[in-house]
Every structure is written in C-alpha cells, then in structure tokens.
C-alpha cells in the first residue's frame, strides 16, 4: 500500500472509530432528527435535562447498573483468584479447568432461562440479588480462566519461600501474592465489570423487567421507538467503559511494563 493511500485510510479508520460515539451523542441531543434530515435542526441539552428530571428512572438505572457491576466485578475477581489457586494445586486440574468452559461458552440468556426455576424457588427471581448472583455465575468462570495463567511453578516457589521464612497465610497473600497479581487483578476486575455492565439477556430473564439496568432501558426505549432517550441511555452505557479503558491503558499497562 502506498504511503499516501495508507494515510488516507488511517484518517478514514479514525473517523469510523469515533463515528458511533459522535452519532449517539448527536442523537441524544436532538429533540427531532427524522427522515429526510441528514443533520438535526437543533442541538441542545434539552433531552438530557428532560430525561434526568422526568420519572423514566434513567439515573436510578445507572446507579443500579453500577451497583450490580461493581459487586459482580469485585466478587468474581476475588473468588476467581482464590479458587483458581485451589484448582492449580489439584492433581486433576486439567479436567477441573475443562468444567469452567461449559458455563463460559454457553449463551448467558439460555443459561438464565434454564436457571430461572431455581432462582424462583430461592426467592431471588426479579430482584437485584438474583441478577448479581446470575451475572456472577457467568463472570466467575471467566475469572477462573483468566487467572489460570497466573499460577505456575515460580509462584509456588515464592509461596514455599514465605512458608520457609515463617510467614503466615495473611502475609503470603498481602505481601506476596496480591502484589504480584496486582495488574491481573485490576484487568480481571475491569473485564468482569464490563461483562456485567454489558449484560442484557440474562438480566432480562432473571430480572423479569423489575431490575432495570441500563441495557434493559436501552431495549425498552428502542421498543417504544423513543430513539433519543435510547441514545442517552447508550451514552451512559458506553462512556464509563471508555473511562475504564483509558485508566487501564494509562495506568495498568504502564505499570506492567
């Protein structure tokens, strides 16, 4: 490819990457943007002001999504880290690892539909606790697979060294294992947070419309053909991950190098 064509293509690629973000922000700020107008006739914060003051509950959905995703992210990361260690030291670890792939590979919405009976019996159907547990069940295998690459003979020898020097369990985790796994713990938290933040199908099945996360809101607004509010919900859904990506890129990877 010639350098000039390459340059032109890279400009086009940049526009292509930013286009969805710009389009959604424009749509969220346009009270009327219909066929045949290529650009909206008016831009302004009216939609945002209206929706945040109204009773659509978008702010509430944002906070619910945040609560669910933070809970799923933290619990999955911690459990994934600790239990992946037990799996690594088990003589049949290869077979046990195989089991982690089954729930990971299955469509979450189908998994949720087959699990809904048990959630109903346990009284956690249609509430936040149920959604957190359901999302945890799909984020946890991911965390296990993610941390399986962390444990190796070198880490084991560090653990042995701590024991030889008289360190207890707490010291082993707080002084050696957690500092060694810091970057991986952060990345795993971001990933499981995002799995939960982006989740729609499973949430709609277990939450039965009562737990209205942002993804549920986006779908409801699309169904109502209220595209402007749909765009606002989409903006709220995509900008926190952009921030996480920025933090991830700026601090986590930088520290790893």
């Amino acid at each position: 490819m010639k350098p000039k064509s390459k340059h032109i293509f890279l400009v086009f690629l940049t526009i292509l990457i930013f286009f969805p973000f710009i389009f959604l922000v424009l749509l969220s700020m346009a009270p009327e943007w219909r066929f045949p107008n290529i650009l909206p006739q008016y831009f302004g914060p009216d939609n945002w002001q209206t929706i945040l003051r109204s009773e659509t509950g978008l702010l509430h959905s944002f906070l619910i999504s945040l609560l669910i995703s933070l809970s799923v992210g933290i619990v999955s990361t911690l459990f994934g880290f600790l239990i992946s260690r037990s799996l690594y030291y088990h003589p049949q670890r290869k077979w046990l690892n195989l089991f982690t792939y089954f729930p990971y590979i299955l469509a979450p919405v189908v998994f949720g539909a087959c699990l809904s009976f048990f959630f109903l019996k346990m009284g956690i159907f249609g509430n936040i606790t149920g959604v957190i547990i359901a999302q945890f069940l799909i984020a946890f295998p991911y965390a296990l697979i993610f941390f399986s690459s962390f444990w190796n003979k070198k880490i084991k020898s560090y653990e042995d060294l701590v024991a030889t020097l008289g360190g207890n369990q707490w010291q082993k985790y707080s002084r050696v294992l957690f500092p060694l796994a810091k970057s991986m713990l952060l990345i795993c938290f971001f990933q499981t947070f995002l799995i939960s933040w982006f989740e729609y199908g499973l949430t709609s099945i277990i939450g039965v419309g009562k737990v209205q996360t942002l993804t549920i809101k986006v779908f409801l607004f699309i169904k109502e053909a209220n595209y402007y509010y749909g765009a606002i919900s989409s903006c709220l859904l995509i900008f926190p991950p952009v921030l996480l990506l920025y933090i991830n890129k700026k601090y986590v990877f930088k520290n790893r190098v």
């Binding site: 045949p36 037990s86 089954f102």
Partner: protein, 284 residues
C-alpha cells in the same frame, strides 16, 4: 474430619462453577421430556418429536451457523488485513488507544446504532435521499430485519473485528513476526510469500481456538438478532427464549428441548477444544 483450604476451594468451585450448569441442564432435560413443568403430565417424547417435525431447530441452527460463519470469516479477514498492513501505525500512542475504543460498545448499543444507520428511515437512507438515489424512505433496501441478515452480520463485524485486530497485533508482537518476515525477505522471499507462508499461518495457528470460541459466542448471540433479526427463521437464542417465554404454555417444553440440543452442542465443542491433551509441558 478437617477440610483443607484447597478442598474448600474445590468445593466452592463445584458449587459455583459446576452445579449451576449441570442443574440448569438437568432441569431443561426434565422439562423437555415432560417430567417437570406446568401442564406436563409425565415422561413423553412428544415435545422432541414436535421440535424435529416443525424443522424450526434445524432452520434456526443453519441460519445461526451461516451468520456466525460469515461474520467470523469477514472479521478475521478484515482484522488480518489491518494487522498486516498497519502494524507499525497501530503502535503510535494515538492509535494504540483508539483501537481499544470499539470494545467499549456493547452488543445492544451496536444493534441500536446499526438500526439507526441502516433502517429505512436511517442515516444512510437520508443520505441516499439527499443524493437523489431514492425518492422516499420506502425506496431504501431492507438492510435490517431482512432475509439475508445483512444488519446482523454488519453488527457482528463491528463487535468482533476490533477484538481480532487487537489479538492479531498482540500475537504479531509476541511471536516476533516482524523479525521472521525480515529474515524471510533476506533469504529471497517476496512480500506475498511472506504474508502467505509466514504471517497468516502464524497468526491463524496461534489464535484458532479464540476464533472458534467467537464463532460459538456469535452462534448464541441474543440482543443483536433480537433487534436486527427477522421473524422467521430466528437465531438460536432468540428462538429458545421465544419458545420458553411465550404465552402458549404447551410450547415451553419444546423451547427447553431446543435449549438442551444447543447446550449439548456447545458443550461438545468445549470438550473438543479444551479436552486435556497429552503433551510435554514447558512450565516456567
């Protein structure tokens, strides 16, 4: 008897990671054979027969596989082309950040965005109208909720291609492909030979499991075909949920029968992909 910390970890793993999956599968199997469930009266093959006679599952499976396959092939092809031609450009500070941005867009937003672009009243239709290529919105071709699933495929490519690009760039760097390419060139290979004999085989060999995994993920995708798909045939997950959640309670068992077949299929795929193989390990 005292349980060690390792054993406790394994118990937790079985309770959280294994029991829910097999519990869910067992429930779906029992429901599909009429053993449990509302209005079911006992063991029967009726629902399984009905699923096979209607042909919905086979159609849906074929439809889902075609869409997933086309999407994966186009995404892998596009990502390979970008990775091969622009590796150095993507190492710049600006591009090394912005190529991550598409990962911040979830499936449901991609579907919404695709709908806003490609529907009859969408942005492309308006541009076509302004250019005088169509007279009204109805003159714009069906690109969403259409027979050929063009909207779904485009949305899938938007979702998956950026991930493959990042994956290929990472393998490109880790496998020292640049050095290998220079070596091949110094031995007389031309650019096409380097791409066909070195770069593409290494990239595909190192990533084929992830590519197959993404094919399986797309096969079970829900929100994108829910928004951009047509009424019939539907992608697998949409069909399963439609059957399980419908008002006709007699049809729920058929939904579970399809769910069982789908679960067995992906579980077999997991077994084939991740079954422990006998080989010499090189642990560090």
């Amino acid at each position: 008897m005292k349980i060690s910390k390792h054993q406790l970890g394994i118990v937790f793993f079985i309770l959280i990671g294994v029991v829910p999956f097999f519990g869910a599968l067992l429930y779906a199997v029992l429901y599909s054979f009429g053993i449990v469930g509302i209005l079911n009266e006992g063991f029967t093959f009726l629902f399984w027969k009905s699923v096979f006679h209607s042909g919905d599952f086979v159609k849906s499976l074929g439809y889902s596989m075609s869409i997933a396959l086309v999407s994966v092939i186009l995404s892998v092809g596009g990502a390979l082309w970008l990775a091969i031609n622009f590796t150095r450009n993507f190492q710049s500070r600006f591009f090394s950040f912005i190529i991550y941005l598409p990962l911040a867009i979830p499936g449901i937003v991609t579907a919404f965005f695709t709908f806003q672009l490609l529907s009859k009243g969408g942005l492309f239709s308006r541009i076509f109208h302004r250019l005088g290529w169509i007279e009204s919105a109805s003159g714009f071709p069906d690109l969403v909720n259409d027979t050929y699933a063009i909207g779904i495929v485009l949305a899938f490519i938007t979702l998956v291609l950026p991930f493959f690009l990042l994956l290929f760039l990472s393998v490109y760097k880790n496998e020292n492909i640049e050095q290998l390419s220079s070596l091949a060139k110094s031995l007389g290979a031309n650019s096409t030979q380097v791409i066909r004999r070195i770069i593409v085989p290494i990239l595909l060999k190192k990533t084929w499991i992830v590519i197959v995994l993404y094919f399986i993920f797309l096969l079970g995708s829900y929100e994108v075909p829910l928004i951009l798909g047509q009424e019939h045939p539907q992608m697998l997950s949409v069909l399963i949920i439609r059957e399980i959640k419908q008002y006709d309670l007699t049809k729920i068992s058929e939904g579970y029968a399809i769910a069982v077949m789908y679960t067995i299929m992906v579980s077999l795929a997991a077994l084939i992909l991740f079954l422990p193989k006998k080989k010499i390990s090189h642990e560090t």
